[in-house]
């Protein structure tokens, strides 16, 4: 029996179109395979290995020994508290310094903002170690900053600015600043200039317009930047190690110490796992307060 012409029309090229779609889907999957492979190799495998090591004791058998020690010894808790404290303070300093910088950059005409943006980004292109040691030179007892402060009479005798919390915070804030400024600048750039004009036209004083319009519209960028800084600080090693001079013990420095002195992979792994989980928890909690999608991925 011949197919009715109507049905035939509605199926015109149907099979071919369907198989073409299938083929494209396979090609797309094929294109993403290298990325999936790399992620598996450099992320999932090592992290899995880390998990595994943290549950193995010195004799190679399964144990919760490392986690037990972390609960028993107060020193571990102190390291975590110090890590969170340093990270939170650094984030706070970055917010206080970074918000005006981002505002300034966003307010400039684009040909100027490019130049100033370069000034913010320039340190990015020098090695982290170089920047950290540069601070060491600037901040030391007979360093540039102490000399200058004594000369203009800010203080009389050299002040200890490095190998302590002060030095660590100065160095970390400097290195983290661009991570806060960039997303914040992006959020501020998206605020149309006529928003502030409208607020002012409707009767808002400049302070009021900032509080009711500008700040709420830039808060997603501020939150995203703060989160990036906070999370990066949690695992920061070089700067606290050099500028803290052993007096600021954070999780990353502690892990290194355990490996160097005790060669205890299990204990070090357990610390790493707890830090990772703490970071994920921090991200989750922050995500519940702010809609990061907006700032990080440009979605609403």
């Amino acid at each position: 029996m011949p197919v009715s012409p109507d049905i035939e029309r509605s199926m015109l090229n149907g099979q071919e179109l369907k198989s073409q779609k299938k083929r494209e889907e396979w090609v797309l999957l094929g294109l993403s395979l290298p990325a999936i492979f790399v992620i598996a190799l450099v992320v999932i495998l090592p992290v899995g290995w880390l998990f595994y090591l943290s549950f193995v004791d010195g004799h190679g058998s399964f144990s919760l020994e490392h986690y037990q020690k972390m609960v028993e010894y107060k020193s571990y808790a102190r390291v975590f508290i110090a890590t969170f404290k340093v990270s939170a303070l650094t984030t706070l300093i970055c917010i206080v310094l970074g918000y005006p910088i981002a505002y300034f950059l966003a307010a400039l005409p684009s040909r100027w903002s490019g130049i100033f943006m370069l000034a913010v980004l320039l340190p990015f292109w020098t090695s982290l170690l170089v920047r950290t040691y540069a601070w060491l030179v600037l901040l030391q007892r007979k360093g540039l900053l102490n000399d200058l402060a004594i000369q203009i009479g800010l203080w009389d005798s050299p002040v200890k600015l490095v190998h302590n919390m002060t030095g660590t915070l100065i160095g970390m804030a400097h290195i983290m600043l661009p991570f806060l400024v960039l997303p914040l600048y992006g959020a501020m750039k998206k605020i149309e200039p006529d928003m502030m004009q409208a607020a002012s036209n409707l009767g808002a004083s400049p302070v009021r317009a900032f509080g009711s319009i500008y700040l709420p519209l830039s808060i997603s960028g501020l939150a995203a930047g703060s989160l990036i800084v906070f999370v990066l600080c949690l695992g920061f090693y070089v700067t606290p190690a050099v500028l803290g001079g052993g007096r600021v013990v954070m999780v990353a420095t502690q892990i290194t110490a355990i490996l160097e002195h005790q060669f205890n992979w299990g204990a070090a792994s357990a610390l790493g796992v707890v830090l990772l989980l703490a970071t994920v928890l921090a991200l989750y909690l922050a995500g519940r307060f702010f809609k990061f999608d907006t700032a990080l991925f440009g979605k609403r």
Partner: protein, 376 residues
């Protein structure tokens, strides 16, 4: 749906709180560019005045100066008797509808409209009443809790308008508020804005580059060009009695015909006498402004008379545009005249063949004479 019925309540209302605006010697330069060149303009209380001009003419600069968003180099802006030129924008108490609407994306519709009320310290209950009232005026009742990004373009436009008048400002400014809407909605909103203006009775300054919009909505139009006011008049006067070539050219369609002056002061085009005397003897060169829709096809070949001027030429081109069309007529001296015609079945001009010889009449009362450029 067009609201063409004018209710009794919609009749022009004199709002006692509306203020006249008096602008004197307002000057603003951007580098070498004279954005505003010593502008004088008196805007009457409760009037709907449109600033009309091409882009870069200074119309937005003038509006922004009234709102307080740019600082003029010199001049005076008075609302009533109060000098405003030094007053910061948030103390001017003028409502403004921005071209981009400038609605706050982190606030709902009601919060946007309520924002100026909150700033003025209105009690929450009274503020809510005023917001609902404003929503009703712009026909958005019930949409108060919507987020801004859930609204269509036309709805956003209405919210921006409601927010601009909810605090009962003495002056309302609008910067091309309809330019983002499609043609149908734009034409609908023109009528609606006009009705809302009549209801509120607030002094309104409206900026547009669309001459049709200006003619539709305004009590008076201020045509602005190169930072100077070319003509300030009612829409009819602007259209029928343009003062110079720029106004004649910018508003409506027109063909300019250069006239020759005879020894006795008569102005003529070719052999046709257009005017027996010059409107202003000190100006030597005059142009005749011919509006395409004021021309008509003559049945027979008649001569120029006391009633009308007659042009003769060949049909060169027909263009059909829907409700009307136009024909291009090449005159003997190769000047091209455009003649607008209706497209109904009876429109005789459509039946003519290309190249046909025709006579075109212009009634004497439709004659518009303007001094030629550089002759003022």
């Amino acid at each position: 749906m067009l609201f063409l019925f004018v209710d009794q309540e919609d009749a022009p209302m004199n709002n006692p709180t509306a203020l006249p605006i008096s602008i004197r010697g307002l000057t603003k330069k951007y580098g070498d560019l004279n954005a505003l060149n010593s502008v004088d303009l008196e805007i009457k209380s409760s009037e709907f005045l449109t600033l009309l001009g091409p882009s870069g003419s200074g119309k937005t600069t003038l509006l922004m100066a009234i709102a307080g968003f740019n600082r003029p180099d010199a001049g005076s802006i008075k609302f009533g008797d109060a000098e405003m030129v030094l007053t910061p924008p948030h103390k001017r108490d003028v409502g403004m509808v921005f071209q981009s609407y400038a609605l706050f994306p982190h606030m709902t519709v009601s919060e946007n409209i309520g924002f100026p009320l909150k700033l003025r310290g209105l009690a929450a209950k009274e503020a809510r009443g005023r917001v609902d009232e404003a929503l009703a005026t712009v026909q958005l009742s019930g949409l108060g809790d919507r987020a801004i990004d859930q609204l269509s373009g036309g709805q956003r436009q209405r919210v921006a308008l409601a927010r601009a008048f909810v605090f009962r400002p003495r002056i309302l400014l609008m910067d091309e508020p309809l330019s983002a809407l499609d043609k149908k909605l734009r034409e609908h909103m023109q009528i609606e804005l006009k009705q809302i203006h009549r209801q509120l009775g607030v002094t309104t300054v409206y900026v547009t580059h669309d001459q049709r919009e200006a003619l539709t909505m305004s009590d008076r139009i201020a045509v602005i060009n190169h930072g100077e006011l070319a003509q300030v008049d009612t829409p009819e006067a602007i259209y029928n009695r343009p003062k110079d070539q720029f106004v004649a050219d910018f508003i409506g369609e027109s063909t300019m015909l250069s006239l020759t002056r005879g020894g006795d002061g008569r102005l003529s085009f070719g052999s046709e006498i257009i005017s027996s005397s010059s409107p202003n003897p000190s100006v030597s060169k005059w142009s005749l402004v011919v509006r395409p829709e004021r021309l008509h096809l003559l049945e027979r070949d008649v001569n120029t008379s006391e009633k009308q001027v007659v042009f003769r030429g060949h049909v060169k081109e027909y263009v059909f545009q829907g409700e009307t069309g136009f024909a291009l007529i090449a005159l003997n001296d190769m000047t091209i005249l455009s003649v607008r015609f209706g497209t109904g079945a009876r429109s005789r001009i459509r039946l003519l063949e290309l190249g046909a010889l025709v006579s075109i009449g212009l009634m004497r009362e439709d004659i518009i004479l303007i001094p030629e450029e550089g002759q003022m």
